[in-house]
């Protein structure tokens, strides 16, 4: 085909006009890849040569004492903080260091903050409806109608987070744990590929912790989930693979048993609790 034919072919879609298909390329395994990342605040090295790889569909727990750099790592992944050196890749195509916060969110990285914020005056169903991926400009929102497939999607998530009986109840009456699940549900409505969950069981009762563990393990496989948590019992109940952070870099990585028998880890972290 000559160049002329190529250019005048009406089926032709130029590369720069084509929408980015398959936004995340995970053919090589990892969905998230951090290499030699360092960041310092006023000379204090919050993250120091951090290397971390999360596989597609994995459930990973990250533990570490206060100040180990857990939250800073989350900030770097979501674009809130820029590292001084190093590279961060989402799949093998997206360099997260060149993207803004909303871009990263729309690529499919969802983050749950420590403190749950749900819209208390709205029902569980409405909370999920607002979180749903949709055209969020004013007029499309005004004229939006609840299509059956949206309803199915919301029902699916309501089921998943175990709030089916409470779907019509205002979120304000939910218990602390239920609000956490609703918040995770709101993240799921945006169909993320990677979920970053910051301290999901803080302030939860034993039973709520069990339910949360079930919820997070059921999500793994479809989504990749990274959980930052202090509660060792909870981590033990869900973790297949645990990463221990200490002073901004990885101290140990492996199964919970391997990690908890590591003398270094016992010294800096587990030792404190014993």
């Amino acid at each position: 085909m000559s160049i002329f034919q190529q250019l005048t072919n009406r089926d032709q879609v130029f590369d720069f006009l084509a929408p980015e298909v398959s936004p995340v390329d995970v053919r090589h395994g990892p969905i998230l890849y951090l290499e030699d990342v360092s960041v310092s605040f006023d000379g204090f090295k919050a993250i120091n040569n951090l290397n971390l790889t999360i596989d597609d569909g994995e459930l990973r727990c990250i533990i570490g004492p206060n100040g180990a750099g857990k939250t800073t790592m989350m900030d770097i992944i979501t674009g809130k903080t820029r590292p001084d050196t190093g590279s961060v890749w989402f799949g093998s195509r997206h360099n997260l260091l060149t993207k803004s916060e909303p871009d990263i969110a729309s690529l499919g990285i969802g983050r749950k903050f420590q403190k749950p914020t749900v819209f208390e005056a709205l029902t569980v169903f409405e909370n999920l409806e607002l979180a749903m991926a949709a055209d969020k400009r004013v007029f499309p929102t005004l004229t939006a109608i609840m299509k059956p497939e949206y309803r199915d999607r919301i029902d699916e998530v309501v089921q998943m987070i175990g709030l089916k009986d409470l779907r019509g109840a205002p979120a304000g009456i939910l218990s602390h744990g239920q609000k956490q699940w609703l918040e995770i549900g709101m993240l799921l409505m945006q169909r993320p590929r990677l979920l970053l969950v910051d301290e999901p069981v803080a302030g939860m009762t034993e039973q709520e912790m069990e339910r949360t563990a079930e919820l997070l393990t059921s999500l793994a496989g479809k989504q990749s989930v990274v959980v930052v948590e202090h509660d060792m019992g909870f981590v033990r109940s869900i973790a297949r693979k645990v990463t221990v952070l200490h002073q901004g870099s990885v101290l140990a990585e492996g199964t919970m048993d391997q990690v908890s028998n590591d003398p270094e880890v016992i010294k800096v972290y587990l030792g404190e609790e014993a």
Binding site: A121, L130, A131, R137, L142, D165, L166, I173
Partner: protein, 373 residues
Amino acid sequence: MWLTRPLRERSTQLFLGVLFAALIVVTALHLLMPQDSALYVSSYTVTLLGKYLCYALLAVAVDLVWGYLGILSLGHGAFFALGGYAMGMYLMRQIGDRGVYGDPLLPDFMVFLNWDALPWYWQGFDMAWFAFIMVLLAPGLLALVFGFLAFRSRVTGVYLSIITQALTFALMLAFFRNEMGFGGNNGLTDFKDLLGFDLRTDATRLGLFLATGIALAIGYVVCRGIVTSKLGRVSVACRDAEARTRFLGYRVERVQLFVFVVSAMLAGVAGALYVPQVGIINPSEFSPLFSIEIVVWVALGGRATLYGAVIGAILVNYGKTVFTGIMPDAWLFALGGLFVLVTVFLPKGIAGLLFDRKKTKEEPDTPAQEATA
């Protein structure tokens, strides 16, 4: 369609039913009863009720931004007055050469000030369609510019309330000046006719009353349509957790701007219907006190219900009419006292009182909190 959705819901049907029944009853009593009957509704009362309905529409507009968007506007009187002035300018031009000075073009106050030409911003107001568009456009544009600047800078809460208050106060001072060309502190008055109908006849007064009732119905349905749409739920989300809403990807400032402009336009319509019924518009409608009074109506009636705003506006203004007849000096004390009592004992207003009993009955049915909580 977002506008027809409210027509299918029970509460709106009930509201419209009561409103239209009231309009029909008043009309029937006015037209059919003999003048000496106890049930006869005089022309004076019809106009008084029409005035209450204007206030009710204004209260609905305030409830839309305050109740559902969490923006406490203490300056909605400004939008009301701008709509009123747009209507007043049209009515002034309709006087023509029947004024005291008999000038075919200039309103009386301009002749009095020795002006020899009509200012540019008075052009076009001899045409009804232009004036009616300005009724929507003048308050809408002010709200758009003001809202754009305020919401873009993320001014909210009490700071926004103070700025709205300053806005209406500044406009009041400006409109008091004769040089502004809006009649100074006398405002615009001595109106003769509207669309060819003589304003002093009973039939026109009844027509204006009915038109106000219909405007209230439309305004209510528009607000209800917004409130029951997804945008309404986003508004409530902005009200309760603005940062979280932004995090979900909604442009909070645009949502606020849209609702604020709609509300300002509704207030303008209320003002435009108010002016021909009371026969005067002057800068006192811009006074901060009036804007605060509107908020009191809404608070008394019950926030975030829309019909509560209507109930509050009508009851308070009825009370004002009665009270200022008996003890004019005590009215403000009564209003203040009422406000305090309602805030302390009825946080949800009169609407809450009406519907709370039903709620408590329903409560056992609503899902109880998890036993583990």
